[in-house]
Amino acid sequence: MEKMARVTTALSGTTITGRTMFYHLDAPANAISVCRDAAQVVVAGRNIFKIYSIEEEQFVEKANLRVGRKLSLNFSCADVVWHQMDDNLLATAATNGAVVTWNLGKQSRNKQDQLFTEHKRTVNKVCFHPNEVHMLLSGSQDGYMKCFDLRKRESVSTFSGQSESVRDVQFSVRDYFTFAASFENGNVQLWDMRRPDRYDRMFTAHNGPVFCCDWHPDDKGWLATGGRDKMVKVWDVSTTKTKEIYCVQTIASVARVKWRPEMKYHLATCSMMVDHNIYVWDIRRPYIPFGMFEEHKDVTTGIVWRHIHDPYYLLSGSKDSTLYQHMFNDASRPVDRANPEGLCYGLFGDLAFAGKDSMFGSDSNRKTYGGERRYPIFFFKKPDLSEQFANVSSALNVFETELGSNSMDWFVNMAQQYILTGRSLADLCDHNAKIAKELYRYQVAQTWTMLRIVYSNPGAISSVNLNQSIGKSGGLPLMNSLKELSVALGNETRLERGKAENRQEINHLDSSNPLITANEENEETEGSDVPADYLFGDVEGDEDDLYMVDHENAPAEEHEYILPQEAFQLRHEIIDNPSAPDHLQDKVESPHVSGNEAETVCLTPIESFSLMSISQPLYDAYLPADYFNSLVKDMLHYYAEQGDVQMAVSVLIVLGDRIRKEIDEQTQEHWYTSYIDLLQRFKLWNVSNEVIKLSTCSSINCFNQASTTLHINCSNCKRPMSSKGWICDRCRQCASMCAVCHQVVKGLFVWCQGCSHGGHLEHIMNWLKTSSHCPAGCGHLCEYT
C-alpha cells in the first residue's frame, strides 16, 4: 500500500510532477479549487481562506485572504471557485448569503473585489462560466440562482427554481447557454440563460437532496448527479428525453462528484458523512470502486482533479484540516482484494458456487464475464493496462442435490413406529431394531439388538434374531479368530480387551456357540471403529438436518388428515373427550401413554443380568450391566454428535434409569429439545408429545404444562365463551352443534365452507359416505376431501 509513485506528464507546455503528499491546514476545509495552470490551489472554509502553491515535494502557503481586524461572515465560505480563464479571479459563496469575488492582482492586503448580498440564505455554490470572463452563477438555500456580470454591481438575471434550496449549479462545458441546477427535493433542472422565466427541463434524479452535479468534460450530453440516497447517476440529456444511463451505488451520501479527465467512464466521489474515503468509479462497473484513497481521517469536503487534462492527480480537502494531493498510482484497488468467489444455497438444497476460472481448470461449459465485449473503450492516449479493470473470468457451478437423497422419510417413519414404552425392554429393543432394519438403517438396528443383549434377560434372545442381525451386518466377514480381531482394531478399549478375554474363555467352554461371539464382535467393530459405508450414511444425515432446519416446507408430511388451519382457532374446547380421534387431542393430553415411572420400576430388576449370562449362566453375576454404561454413554454421544438425536433420545427413553444417571442433565435436556424441535418441524405432534411426556427432565416435562388453555368463541354470537360448559352466556344457545347427531361437539368440529354446516368429524365423514347433501338439510352439496 505504501508505494509512492512519481509521475511526470507533459501537457501543453506545463509539466506536472509530484507525489502523494499532504499539508496540515489550520482549520477544516469546506471547498477547494485549482487555478488553470494547476500550480496553485485555494482552500476555503469557515475559518480558513488560503492559497497554496503545489510544489514537487510539498504545498507552500502563498497567500492568506482572510485579513482584516474584525472578520465578518463574508469570509465564512461554503464554496470557492477559481476562474479558469483569469488566474487572478476567485469567487466564494458565504454561509450568510453573500457572494464575494476576489482579485489577486490587487495591491492592497485585502483582495476582496465585489460583494453581492442579494441572496437571503446561505449560498451553496458558485460557478464561473467556462468561456466568459465576467459571468458568475450562484445557487442558494433560498431557492434562487443568480447570474452576475462582474462588471456590474448587481445580478443580471435571477432564476427561480420554484422548489426548494439549490445545492449545486454547473455551467455546461460545451453548451454556451446551458447550466444545470440540483435541488434539495431531488430535482435537477436545466436552464437556458437567455430565458430566466422558466427552466428548460426538469427531472427527478434522486430520492432526497441532490448534493452535486457535474457535466462530462467531453460528452456534452452527460450529466452526473450525486445525492443523499447514496447514488451516483449519469444522465444523458442530449436528446429530448432524459435518460438514466448509469447508476453507481455507494455506501454513503454523495457530497461531490467529479469526472476524471481523459477517462470517459471514470468519476471521483466523496461522501458527506460517515465515510471518509474518496472513490474513483468506472461507471460500467458499479459494484466495486476502481480506485480508492483512504488518507483522510474525517469526511472529505472538496475534491478536484489538478489539471483538466491530467487524470493522475487528485487534490482533496477535508474536515480533518488536511490538504492532500493523491497520485492515482497510489490509489488502492479494491478489486485486487475482493473475493471473487460466491456460494449460495438454493431453496431446494441446490448449491451454487461461482469462482475464478482457474479454480475449475479448463472446463468447456462455462461462461466468462467480459466488460469490453459490450463497451469498447477509446483512450485519449495509448491504452494503459493499469487503467482498466482487471478482468476476472469466473465460472458458475450449480450442484443439485439428488432427488430423495435428502429425504427425511426414515426419520418420520422411525419416529412414528418406534415404541418407547409400555412393553418389556427386550420387546422394545426388538421392535425398534426391526423398524430400523426395515428402513435400511442397519447400524441403528444393530445397536438396538445389542442394547437388548446388554441389558435384557438372556432367555429372551432367540437365535433367529441373532441370525438376522448377522445377515444384515453389511457384508462384514464373520471373524472367528478373536486374536485377529484385537489386532485389527487398533483403538480397542480396555473394556473390549477384557471382553475378548472373556470370550476366549467362552470359546473354550462352549465352542458350540460361535455365532454369538461373532455377532458380538461385529457389533463392537461398528461401535468403536465405524465402517466406511455407515459413515457415509451419517454424513448424509447431517446435511439433511441442516437442510431441514433451513426450509420448513419439506415434502415429508404424512398425517391421517390435515384440517384447514381455521379449524384449530378458538373453536373448541378440547378437554376430556376421548372420542376425538386426532393428534390435537393428544397434544393437550395424551390418553394412551402410561407413566414412565411405573414402567421403569417393573423393568429394573433385570439389570443384574449380564452379557455373559447369554452363553454361560455360570458367570451370572460376573459382569453387571452397569459395566457397559460408559460404553453406551459414548454411543449415545456419538449418535448425537452425528446428528441422529432421534437415536440418542429413543435409547435414553427406552433404557430409562439404567443410563440416565450417566449423562448429565444438561446434555439430556439439549437432546430432548433438539429432538422435540425436529419432531415439531415435521408436525409429528403425537410423537413429540409422547417424548415430552416420557422425558425425565423436569424442564422438558413442563412443556406440556405451558399454554394448555384454549379460548373459544360461541358459534352463534361470535363472542368469547367465558364460562365453563357449552352454553353461551349471551345468546343462551348451545354452541357448535353437530348437524348429524344434534349434540354439542366437544372435540374436532368440521364444517363445510360452502354452507357452514358441520359437526363431529366422524359423523360428517360417515354421512358423506352415503349422501352428498348437507346433513343439515340445507340442500348444499357438500364435499369432504
Binding site: S72, L73, N96, K120, T122, R228, S253, M273, V274
Partner: protein, 489 residues
C-alpha cells in the same frame, strides 16, 4: 405535590368512589395557598375535552374536522385502540398529523433495534423529565401491554443497568443538549455487557427527543389527561389556577411585559405592518457584519431576561413521575449565561439536519431519517397563508423567526439569518411563551397561552406549538447526532 385536603370535588364522577381526589397544584398556587394558611378553596377545573386551554366548542368551530383528519383518527384508533387528546388536538392540522403519527408508529411499534418494553420505558423516562404525567401514564399502560416488567415501574433503581446508563443522556438532552459530548456516547457504547449498540442508541435518542418535544406540546397546548385511562390519569397536568383567573405571581410578569394588551387588534396590525416592512427593507442598507453577529448574541442574552425568575426558587416535583427521574434539580440553564466555560455556538451550516443528521440517522436506524425528514419539512412548510382574520399572508418570516428563536435558545446559530427579525416579529409575551414551552414546559400556564396573539385562532396557536415542538426535537437531535458523529470519526 398533592394537596388532597383542599380539594374534595372530583369532576371524574365515574372514578370518584375509589380514589381520593388529587389535583396538581402549581408552585404559584402553592405559594398563594401557603400564604393563606391553606384555607383557600380552589374551584375544580371546569374544562373538559382534549385541552384545558381551549374550550371544546371552540375547537369544533375553529376548524371543523375534515375528512382527512377523520380518516387519520380512524387509523390511529384502529392501531392503538384509543384516540388520545394529543391526536385530537393535532387533528387541527391533519397534514402534519399524518406525518407525526407515521413517525410515532414507526419508532414505537415497527421493527427496530430496541425491544418494545425498552421503547416505552424510554418514553416514560423522557416524559418524566418534564413531569408530564399524561405521557408517563400512556406509556406505563403501553409498557404493561407489551409485556414489560411491572417491576420497572417502581422507579429507575428497578430497571436493567443498560437503561439506567442512558439516563444521563436523557437528562442532558432534555435540558441542556449542548453539553452532550462524544465521551457520553463512548460511555454508553463501551461498558462491557450493558453496552448499547450504535443502532440501539440512535433509536433511543430519537425516542427521547421525540418525547421531550412531545411533552412540550402537551404542556404548551394544555392537553387534558385521558378520560379512559385508569385512576392515575385522573390527575390533571394543570393547576386549577389556569382555568380560574385568580390573581397570582404571574400577573406581575404579564402586566409589565405587554403593556398594550388591551388593544389587541392594533397589535395584530402592527405585526403585519412590521412583517411587510421587513420584507421590503431587504433591499436597503445591510447591517454590518459585526452587527449581525452581535444581534445573535443579543437575542441569546435577551432570552435570559425573558422571564422566569419567579420560579427558580422552587423545585416542582410530583411524586408520581419523580421516581423515573434522577437528579431532578438538573434543569434548563440558559445557553448564554455560562460566561466562563464558553462553549462554541453550534453553527447550523456545519452540521445540518438535511446534510448530516439525516445521513447518520438513516444509516443506523433505517428509514427513520426519511420519516423525520418528512415531518420536519412538513412542519416548516405548513401554512394556510392566514393570520387571524387576514388571508393571503406569507407567514414564512414569522415561522422562520419562531424556529430560529427556539434554536437560538439552544445555542444553534444560522449564519444566514438576521436575528434582528426575531426582535421585531416576536412580541415579548410570545417569547415568554416560547421559552417556557421549549425549556420548562411544565411551567406553562393558560395565562401564558392566552396572553400572546390574542386575535389569532386557536388552530394557529397550535400551529405555533407544532413549530416549537419540532424545532426543539431537531435541536436535540442535532446535538446528539453530532456527538455520535464525533464519536465515530
Amino acid at each position: 405535590m398533592f394537596i388532597s385536603t383542599t380539594c374534595k370535588e372530583n369532576r371524574h364522577t365515574k372514578n370518584s368512589e375509589k380514589l381520593p381526589t388529587d389535583y396538581m397544584i402549581c408552585t404559584n398556587c402553592q405559594k398563594v395557598l401557603r400564604k393563606q394558611d391553606k384555607d383557600a378553596r380552589v374551584p375544580p377545573p371546569t374544562t373538559t375535552g382534549p385541552t384545558a386551554f381551549i374550550p371544546e366548542k371552540e375547537i369544533a368551530q375553529d376548524n371543523p374536522v375534515d375528512g382527512h383528519a377523520n380518516l387519520l383518527f380512524l387509523e390511529e384508533y384502529s392501531t392503538t385502540g384509543h384516540l388520545d387528546n394529543v391526536t385530537r388536538i393535532m387533528g387541527l392540522h391533519p397534514q402534519y398529523l399524518e406525518s407525526f403519527l407515521r413517525t410515532q408508529y414507526y419508532i414505537l411499534r415497527m421493527d427496530g433495534p430496541l425491544p418494545f418494553e425498552y421503547r416505552h420505558y424510554l418514553a416514560i423516562m423522557a416524559a418524566a423529565r418534564h413531569q408530564c404525567s399524561h405521557l408517563v401514564n400512556t406509556h406505563v399502560n403501553e409498557l404493561l401491554q407489551v409485556g414489560g416488567d411491572g417491576e420497572w415501574l417502581n422507579g429507575l433503581e428497578y430497571v436493567p443497568q443498560k437503561l439506567k446508563n442512558i439516563n444521563e443522556v436523557n437528562k442532558i438532552l432534555a435540558h441542556r443538549p449542548w453539553l452532550i459530548t462524544k465521551e457520553h456516547i463512548k460511555k454508553l457504547l463501551k461498558t462491557g455487557e450493558n453496552s448499547w449498540s450504535l443502532a440501539e442508541l440512535v433509536h433511543a435518542v430519537v425516542l427521547l427527543a421525540h418525547y421531550h418535544a412531545l411533552a412540550s406540546f402537551v404542556f404548551g397546548s394544555g392537553i387534558n389527561p385521558e378520560m379512559d385511562q385508569d385512576r392515575t390519569a385522573a390527575i390533571s397536568n394543570f393547576c386549577l389556577c389556569d382555568a380560574s383567573n385568580e390573581s397570582n405571581v404571574e400577573d406581575v410578569i404579564f402586566m409589565c411585559s405587554s403593556p398594550g394588551t388591551s388593544d389587541s387588534v392594533s397589535e395584530l396590525e402592527a405585526l403585519m405592518e412590521r412583517m411587510k416592512r421587513l420584507q421590503e427593507e431587504n433591499e436597503e442598507a445591510e447591517a454590518s457584519q459585526e452587527e449581525m453577529a452581535t444581534r445573535f448574541e443579543k437575542e441569546k442574552k435577551e432570552s435570559l431576561l425573558v422571564a422566569t425568575g419567579a420560579y427558580e426558587d422552587e423545585l416542582i416535583s410530583t411524586s408520581y413521575t419523580s421516581r423515573y427521574v434522577d437528579d431532578p434539580s438538573f434543569g434548563y440553564k440558559d445557553f448564554a449565561r455560562r460566561g466562563d466555560d464558553h462553549l462554541p455556538t453550534f453553527r447550523a451550516q456545519d452540521y445540518s439536519w438535511e446534510d448530516h443528521g439525516f445521513s447518520l440517522v438513516n444509516r443506523l436506524y433505517s428509514d427513520i431519517g426519511q420519516l423525520l425528514d418528512e415531518k420536519f419539512r412538513m412542519v416548516r412548510n405548513l401554512t394556510y397563508n392566514t393570520m387571524a382574520i387576514h388571508e393571503d399572508v406569507d407567514t414564512t418570516m414569522l415561522r422562520r423567526a419562531i424556529w430560529n428563536y427556539v434554536h437560538c435558545m439552544f445555542g444553534i446559530r444560522y449564519d444566514d439569518y438576521d436575528y434582528g427579525e426575531v426582535n421585531q416579529l416576536l412580541e415579548r409575551s410570545l417569547k415568554v411563551y416560547i421559552k417556557t414551552v421549549t425549556c420548562y414546559p411544565e411551567r406553562t400556564t393558560k395565562r401564558m397561552y392566552d396572553s400572546y396573539w390574542r386575535q389569532f385562532k386557536h388552530s394557529e396557536k397550535i400551529h405555533v406549538n407544532l413549530l416549537l415542538m419540532e424545532a426543539r426535537m431537531q435541536a436535540e437531535l442535532l446535538y446528539a447526532l453530532r456527538a455520535i458523529t464525533q464519536y465515530m470519526t
